[in-house]
């Protein structure tokens, strides 16, 4: 059964329609990737799932619960974690404080494994120890992505939303980070929905892929099928 | 109850327009020492008659009184006093049948800044078509509106806000302007006399005065008079907190640092309350002598724990215990009735507008009686000039330039368990009589301030 289900979701920003009849689903423990060009609607989809954008019609279900009208903080408490494309690190706070932030907010964790999550996260991202005292302002791009991801995990979510986690990373770092994403699933068994603009990168991590174009899902299927489909590849690349 | 009879007496007395020393005034404090009452009705009356106008009937519509004063901001208590006094007078007159049958309505309008005051006055005249105006607007606003009043040709009864500048420069020959209280030039003079009398050995004088025309004039003329009366006294420091200040500590510290023998303050209203409280804590009252020129405007706010005993307080021209109630029942009735109405003790503003309105009433009735025609504003004003009126504070003579002449009560503050507020110790209560107000060295050589000659006040002081 699906963990997250979007059904014919239409979203507008102002008077511009950014999502048209989007229907996707993510199952438990699955890594799903939204692939599309810049401005295709990936970030809008993720924002709609998080509640930062309100759909005009359609429904969003999470764990069989209709969350279409819930505000973001309720969704976060239900178990959706987000690492946005702009990282969203609190620059005034140290890395440590950034990581602790979700714990301060939500006093009681969803399941009782709350105390372990910290260890698990540190096991996945051992570099965090080194950064601990660093201020959010002085992090490099890769470090920022890592902290943002780790912070989202501290919510102990069942669904992790990663918006362009691989964008702008150096090739070596990129490969390593992609491995980490897989490791997250292995260690925590949670589902991950990520947005990516490069099919090759997406296929490194994803089980399934949705291709988004102009706010519409144009394709949904396995990684292999997409990689072979030259037309889709061209569509996503833009040439 | 004696209050009731007195009131009727009073209304009757005033209504009949008895010139001279009436029943109430006869016992009035210091009435015998009043200036000789000049007579000014006759010329006006004859003039009207000579002109041979068709007699004007009594208008049907009520008489409108416009009160211009502070109804917002830190000085609201002043506006409330003026408005309360005017309504008090109006109610009393209406109960007795009005002025020639015309009832009185009281309107009020906020003054605020000089421009707003000018606008308020203009609006009263042009839109509401008031018959007379009154109010305590403060020195700055007074200076601003006086030229307009003379142009708009509607009488205005100032309470206590007239300045030397107004009297000497802006409106030296007023017709429509009346000053129901002492001019500002009176007080500094009296303050100087008080200082010379009470502290003959003082040398160093300091001042904490509000930073506007009144405060400036009060300090300047007190020092001018002191230089003449006691040349050994000198001003060592003058500080100017803004009107409406909440923190006087810096000013008090600066004054204490100058080690004065006497401190003069013209702070009034809420300012005086704050000043008194902070000055107590800084030990100002213990370390030096304080003479307050207008502190009594804060009368109802001076709860017993604020004012320390022993501040010399000049009471402008009316203090609710003077004339003493046992000697002068009219005052007793006035204070008691006002307290019943407003749950407050009447400040001098209350008394001033009250007697101003009665002077107006008296003038209208008198001219009407003489000519059989309802008078125009100009006639009314000329009839008020050089007339007299019985007021709760005693007898009032009105000079040809619209000045109500009266003695100034003064005394040291203390707390009488009878009252919830600080009052004047009756043992120290004294009056400075009008002739001394304008004549500080009645000790020889006698110099009379030549009222009405247009001599400048500073020139007069210089001639002592």
């Amino acid at each position: 059964m699906a963990l997250l289900e979007l059904e014919r979701v239409n979203t507008f920003i102002g008077s511009v329609q950014v999502l048209r009849d989007i229907s996707i689903n993510v199952d438990k423990g699955e890594i799903v990737c939204l692939v599309g060009r810049n401005g295709a609607g990936k970030t809008s989809t993720i924002k709609t799932i998080m509640g930062l954008l309100r759909p005009k019609s359609g429904t969003i279900r999470f764990k069989d619960e209709d969350i279409t009208d819930l505000p973001p903080y309720r969704r976060a408490r239900l178990g959706i974690g987000l690492a946005p494309d702009y990282r969203g690190i609190f620059t005034d706070l140290t890395v440590e404080e950034n990581l602790q932030f979700p714990k301060w907010v939500i006093k009681r964790n969803r399941n009782q494994s709350g105390s372990n999550i910290e260890k698990e996260v540190h096991a996945i991202f051992p570099e965090l120890d080194r950064l601990r005292k660093r201020e959010g302002l002085v992090l490099s791009g890769g470090e920022g992505k890592m902290v943002a991801t780790a912070r989202a995990l501290m919510l102990n979510p069942e669904l992790l939303l990663l918006d362009e986690p691989l964008e702008g990373l150096a090739p070596i770092v990129l490969v390593r980070f992609a491995e980490r994403i897989k490791k997250i699933r292995e260690a925590l068994g949670i589902a991950i929905l990520l947005a990516e603009s490069n099919i090759a990168h997406a296929s490194r991590v994803a089980d399934r892929i949705y291709v988004v174009e102009r706010g519409e899902i144009v394709y949904g299927g396995s990684v292999e099928d997409v990689s072979r489909d030259e037309q889709l590849n061209r569509l996503v690349r833009g040439f | 109850m004696s209050g009731k009879t007195s009131r009727r007496d009073f209304v009757k007395t005033a209504a009949a327009g008895i010139v001279g020393f009436g029943v109430g005034a006869g016992v009035g404090y210091g009435a015998s020492q009043m200036m000789a009452p000049p007579t000014g009705v006759a010329p006006t009356v004859t003039k009207t008659v000579e002109l041979g106008k068709t007699p004007r009937g009594v208008p049907k519509e009520p008489i409108k009184i416009g009160i211009v004063s502070w109804f917002t901001g830190p000085s609201t208590m002043v506006g409330e006093a003026c408005y309360g006094g005017a309504r008090f007078a109006a109610d009393e007159i209406n109960k007795a049948g009005g002025i020639l049958g015309r009832k009185i309505e009281v309107l009020k309008r906020d003054c605020g800044t000089p421009e707003v005051t000018v606008d308020a006055v203009r609006r009263f005249v042009l839109e509401d078509k008031v018959d007379l105006m009154g109010g305590d607007v403060g020195g700055s606003n007074c200076n601003a509106i006086v030229p307009h009043i003379e142009q708009l040709k509607v009488p205005f009864f100032f309470q206590c806000s007239t300045t030397v500048k107004e009297v000497e420069e802006l409106d030296p020959n007023p017709l429509y302007v009346f000053r129901t209280g002492e001019q500002n030039l009176a007080e500094p003079n009296v303050a100087a006399q008080l200082i010379v009398r009470e502290f003959p050995n003082a040398k160093r004088i300091a001042g904490i005065n509000p930073d506007y025309v009144y405060g400036r004039e009060a300090m300047m003329y007190t020092m001018k008079a002191l230089n003449k009366l006691a040349p050994h006294m000198e001003s060592v420091l003058e500080t100017w907190p803004p009107l409406g200040a909440t923190d006087f500590s810096s000013h008090i510290t600066a004054v204490l640092d100058a080690k004065p023998d006497v401190v003069i303050t013209a702070c009034w209203g809420g300012d005086f309350v704050t000043f008194a409280k902070q000055a107590t804590a800084y030990g100002l009252f213990q370390k030096t002598n304080v003479v307050s020129i207008l502190g009594s405007m804060a009368l109802n706010s001076l709860t017993k724990d604020i004012v320390p005993p022993g501040v010399w307080m000049l009471q402008r021209d009316y203090y609710f215990e003077a004339p003493p109630h046992n000697l002068y029942p009219l005052n007793k009735w006035f204070v008691e009735t006002y307290r019943k109405r407003e749950n407050k003790f009447p400040e001098f503003d209350v008394m001033q507008i009250f007697s101003g309105i009665f002077a107006y009433k008296q003038a209208v009735e008198r001219v009407y009686a003489a000519t059989g025609s309802y008078p125009e504003n100009e006639e009314i004003c000329r009839a008020i000039q050089n007339s007299q009126v019985v007021s709760p504070a005693g007898h009032r003579v009105i000079t040809s330039d619209g000045q109500f002449i009266n003695p100034l009560p003064y005394g040291k503050t203390w707390h009488d368990p009878k009252y919830p507020i600080a009052t004047i110790d009756p043992k120290t209560l004294g009056f400075i009589m009008p002739e001394y107000v304008y004549n500080p060295k009645s000790l020889p050589p006698v110099l009379q301030y030549p009222l009405g000659t247009g001599m400048k006040y500073s020139d007069w002081i210089a001639s002592w």
Binding site: M50, G51, L52, P71, Y73, A76, R77, G81, L82, P84, G88, F90, D92, L93, E97, N98, Q100, F101, P102, W104, V105, R151, A152 | W70, F71, T72, G73, P74, S75, T76, M77, E80, W240, P242, G244, T246, D247, S249, S250, H251, T253, A254, L256, D257, G270, V273, K277, Q278, T280, A281, Y282, G283, Q286, K287, A298, N300, S301, T303, D305, I306
Partner: protein, 300 residues
């Protein structure tokens, strides 16, 4: 001027400075978190004084002991805070979305409403509650009398400053606030109920302003219009110190307080102008203020 007097002048300057400080903190919090420049803060300061007056006056009339009167100060401030819980959801929630000038105008309107409501309820005469001030008596410092109550104010303001510092930098709630101030969307995504947090923050800011009014009441008095003068000076303090800076507010408020106190002693004619000249010079030389953060491109 003897050195003793200089000490007293400095104390006087701080007396004035700390009232500005207590208002400015609230302004800073509201601007820092919600980007609302709240002119009505002066009105809330005044409300603090008036409500405390009502409590103290009732208590004194009923003959309650002095510690009850002390208690009136926090209770009065708390009541003002409760007021914040009403106006925040009703008015300010709608302002967060609007442009700055709209919120300026609306809070300006609210300031007028506050000022007049106080006059309607409490009348126009100044109200004083002197029991505590008199009870504390006078202290002799270097041979000069000085009101003991002022030290209560100093101690109190320092406690507030320290307390806030600890709150913002050492407590969970404070750090959540700082994070939310920077990125409200992100913190919502991390589970923060921003709407409630804003209400709580608003309560805190208003509570401090109310405390300012309450604690100054015994030393001065409450009168209608009392909120207008400090609010404009507090804007100056806020800008000179740097938007959102606690330290800056303290330093700038002290600066203005001292300039004013020495100005009265040395050059009374220019005291008021100097305060605003400092503001202008600060803005020209260092627009982000003494302790303000560097502007981001968007803020410029």
């Amino acid at each position: 001027m003897d050195p003793e007097t200089v000490v007293i002048i400095i104390l006087n300057g701080m007396f004035y400075a700390l009232s500005l400080f207590l208002i400015t903190i609230g302004l800073n919090i509201l601007y820092g978190f919600m980007k609302v420049l709240n002119i009505a803060h002066g009105g809330l300061y005044a409300t603090g004084a008036f409500l405390t007056w009502a409590l103290m006056n009732t208590a004194a009339k009923a003959g309650y002991p002095i510690y009850i009167l002390w208690l009136c100060i926090p209770v009065g401030a708390f009541l003002v805070g409760l007021l914040a819980l009403v106006i925040e959801p009703l008015l300010f929630k709608r302002l967060y979305r609007l442009r700055e000038e709209y919120s300026l105008l609306a809070t300006f309107g609210l300031m007028l409403v506050f000022d007049d409501s106080l006059r309607m309820i409490f009348g126009g005469s100044p109200l004083s509650a002197n029991q505590l001030y008199n009870w504390m008596g006078t202290l002799t410092i270097l041979g000069k009398s000085y009101p003991t109550y002022n030290f209560v104010i100093y101690a109190f303001a320092i406690a507030v400053a320290l307390g806030l510092w600890i709150f913002f930098f050492k407590t969970k709630m404070g750090r959540i606030l700082r994070g939310t101030a920077q990125d409200r969307e992100m913190s919502a995504c991390l589970g923060v109920n921003v709407s409630i947090l804003y209400t709580e923050t608003f309560f805190l800011a208003v509570f401090i302003a109310g405390l300012g009014g309450a604690i100054y009441l015994p030393a001065t008095n409450a009168y209608s219009g009392m909120g207008f003068e400090p609010i404009v000076l507090s804007f100056a303090v806020m800008i000179i110190g740097g938007l959102g800076s606690l330290k800056g507010a303290l330093v700038a408020a002290s600066m203005i307080g001292l300039v004013r106190a020495f100005g009265i002693a040395l050059m009374p004619e220019l005291e008021l102008a100097v305060v605003f000249l400092i503001l202008i010079i600060t803005l020209i030389v260092r627009p982000r203020g003494l302790f303000g953060k560097k502007f981001t491109r968007e803020e410029k």
